[in-house]
């Protein structure tokens, strides 16, 4: 049997087999599954269902605490209330606040004035219902005091809520977990870690010699290793994203059906881009994770926020640009976005540039001296 030179697909298949068979090893499986479940578990713990949210809601204020201030007011005016009256009034307040909470939703893109007017109308309707029901329990003097108190409380609440542009509502933590934590931190770091280690881990394990003595050019070897790792990451992170969305569905987060295709599309572009960055950093330094954090601070958080064309260098900004197509996200996050096609082009080109540079480096540099010196 005479071996020929392996084709690109031969090499890719070989490295893909090595990649997934290593990753899917029984010893690693529990850790992998466990790490996939950590973030969904955190979301479940911190995002409340509508029912629990209604029970604990305090968006419009805590009715019990507010009523306590009303009782003190009556005591100052020497107008006592019976226990049955207090219980009846408390029940009315709780019911109507829960109803107001359940029927309120933020409208993305709404102007502050329009939002304030909506809040005013919403709370006026709630106040009217409370006053009508309260007549059943209160005498004339109590009712007069209650009307005055309720009107003032309502005005205070409208003023308070109007000042908050994007209130931290029930669904907001989910989006912050999904984007600010998972999509903008965990996903990039996972990609950089996995691809920065493409050669470094082989060096550390002293197994690089088995690969670089095969009849495959060093550049091609690095590229197929990158592609195999990206394929693996795409699958792994797809599962993680779907788990997070499943958690969102369980917590009845609205608008997920519209967000899912967009997020998966952006993720499909983002994973190769972050992975390519990791591949290049891994070729440049053995401390690629520390370098990635510095890169993140300088380029993504620094240069990427400068309102000139230089912010095109930020991958995060391009990702935000694409995600801002979603109305819900646009209403929650304040992003300085650019053009859609520029963003797509940048995310598509980034892997070619980063991996190209990494392949050139790997073709020139040995990455073997330290291992050799340890012998």
């Amino acid at each position: 049997m005479t071996a020929r030179l392996p084709t690109f697909l031969d090499a890719l298949k070989a490295v893909w087999l090595l990649t997934w068979k290593s990753q899917w090893a029984t010893s690693r499986l529990p850790i992998k599954l466990g790490s996939l479940l950590v973030l969904p578990a955190l979301v479940l713990l911190t995002v409340l269902s509508p029912e629990k949210w209604t029970q604990r809601q305090n968006f419009f204020g805590n009715p019990d605490a507010q009523l306590d201030s009303f009782y003190r007011r009556l005591e100052r005016h020497q107008i006592p209330m019976e226990a049955t009256q207090k219980a009846g009034l408390r029940q009315i307040m709780r019911d109507e606040y829960a109803r107001a909470q359940a029927s309120w939703s933020e409208q993305p893109g709404q102007s502050p004035d329009a939002r304030k007017q909506r809040l005013q109308d919403h709370l006026d309707a709630t106040g009217t219902r409370i006053l009508e029901r309260a007549r059943e329990f209160l005498d004339e003097r109590q009712m007069a005091e209650f009307q005055t108190w309720e009107q003032r409380t309502r005005e205070t609440t409208v003023a308070r809520l109007s000042a908050i542009q994007t209130p931290w509502g029930r669904t907001t933590p989910f989006y912050h977990w999904l984007l600010n934590f998972y999509f903008f931190i965990i996903l990039p770091l996972t990609c950089v870690r996995a691809c920065g280690a493409l050669i470094r881990d082989e060096l550390q394990a002293d197994t690089l010699g088995f690969l670089i003595t095969r009849p495959v050019s060093r550049a091609r070897l690095l590229i197929v290793k990158y592609i195999a790792q990206v394929l693996w990451l795409e699958m792994l992170l797809l599962v993680e994203t779907l788990l997070l969305f499943a958690t969102g569905v369980e917590r009845q987060i609205p608008g997920l059906a519209e967000l899912l295709p967009l997020l998966l599309g952006v993720q499909f572009l983002a994973v190769p881009a972050w992975s390519a960055l990791g591949t290049l950093l891994g070729q440049i330094t053995s401390r690629y994770m520390a370098t990635a954090l510095i890169y993140g601070a300088v380029v993504e958080m620094g240069i990427g926020r400068i309102p000139t064309n230089i912010n095109t260098l930020s991958l995060l900004r391009h990702i935000e640009t694409l995600l801002s197509r979603n109305g819900t996200l646009e209403g929650i996050f304040v992003w300085d976005v650019g053009g859609t096609w520029t963003a797509i082009l940048a995310l598509v080109l980034a892997p070619f540039i980063f991996v190209g540079a990494a392949a050139v480096l790997f073709s020139i540099v040995e990455y073997h001296a330290s291992a050799e010196m340890q012998k």
């Binding site: 068979k21 002293d206 088995f210």
Partner: protein
């Protein structure tokens, strides 16, 4: 016969540390041993030959080609590194199938090829389904050798392949290597134990401190060092008398006496001069010889001399 490997003024250093120091040599087809103590530069040399390292200066060619980043040449080479490092979570056939694909063996043949080489290195089939992390040192050595044989290379480079093998295992691997050599495969094998190579290799390269101290066939190496001090252990009836006669003839560098055991150990100045005069000096001394053993004629002795 053209050289398989040719090095001219080859040097390799790591910062200020010298790995190989301006060495020139040629390695002919067949079984060749590279011997030297740890740190002699063996692994550096083998890694330059297999394209893992680049020379700092000078040139090394294998089949007339430079090895670094040269797939056309690497297709003709097989390499078995030192150490036990292997992907421990993989089973050997999975690993070998991947490496076979990476070596250019078609997918349809890769799995069968993996089985064939495992059979060739005599890894018992009952261990094939285990993950390599569970393997003993000897089993790992066999799988490492197997991966080097996957694509039937013309030159097989083995870095300390006998490490960790029991005597039976060593014999089996040596037999496998001899079979390969008989089929025309050139084999370069390194070891810090000369005895392993002495019985196996026709040619030897002796390295220490990055320099080649001796090279060629075992016979040539012995001839190269004919000027070195020869050591003989002579069993006779009167060691004192023989020592006095040899000392008077000024052919000795030194001697040790063990009269009770009837032993005389001598270190001769010039082996050629000594053997020319030996018979007459022996007759003149009137000593009866019961036995003579040369302590310098085994490669191990030569190796110890040049590497100590």
């Amino acid at each position: 016969m053209s050289a398989v490997i040719r090095a001219e003024e080859l040097s390799r250093w790591y910062g200020i540390v010298m790995g190989l120091n301006n060495v020139s040599f040629e390695i002919e087809p067949g079984l060749t041993g590279v011997v030297g103590p740890n740190g002699a530069g063996k692994s550096t040399l083998l890694q330059i030959i297999t394209g893992q390292l680049q020379p700092s200066s000078g040139e090394l060619t294998v089949f007339g080609l430079r090895p670094w980043n040269n797939p056309a040449l690497l297709r003709r080479l097989g390499y078995c590194p030192e150490g036990e490092a292997m992907p421990k979570e993989l089973r050997p056939l999975d690993w070998l199938r991947s490496l076979a694909l990476l070596s250019g063996i078609p997918d349809g043949d890769a799995a069968a090829r993996g089985e064939a080489v495992l059979d060739r290195v005599k890894l018992p089939r009952e261990h094939w389904d285990k993950r390599m992390g569970q393997y003993s040192k000897g089993m790992k050595q066999r799988v490492k050798l197997a991966q080097g044989l996957l694509h039937e290379p013309e030159l097989l480079v083995l870095d300390e392949p006998m490490n960790g093998l029991d005597p039976m295992g060593r014999q089996e691997i040596a037999q496998t290597l001899k079979e390969l050599a008989s089929r025309g495969v050139s084999i370069l094998i390194s070891s810090h134990i000369l005895a392993e190579l002495e019985a196996l290799c026709k040619n030897i390269l002796v390295l220490n401190w990055g320099r080649i101290l001796a090279s060629g066939s075992q016979k040539e190496i012995r001839a190269d060092i004919k000027d070195w001090s020869e050591e003989l252990e002579i069993e006779c009836d009167s060691p004192e008398r023989l020592a006095r006669r040899l000392f008077d003839a000024d052919v000795l560098l030194g001697f040790d006496l063990e009269p009770a055991a009837g032993l005389l150990r001598i270190r001769v100045k010039d082996a050629a001069v000594f053997y020319e005069q030996w018979t007459s000096l022996l007759l003149q001394s009137g000593t009866t010889i019961h036995g003579i053993r040369s302590r310098s004629r085994s490669l191990q002795n030569i190796y110890e001399k040049v590497t100590m």
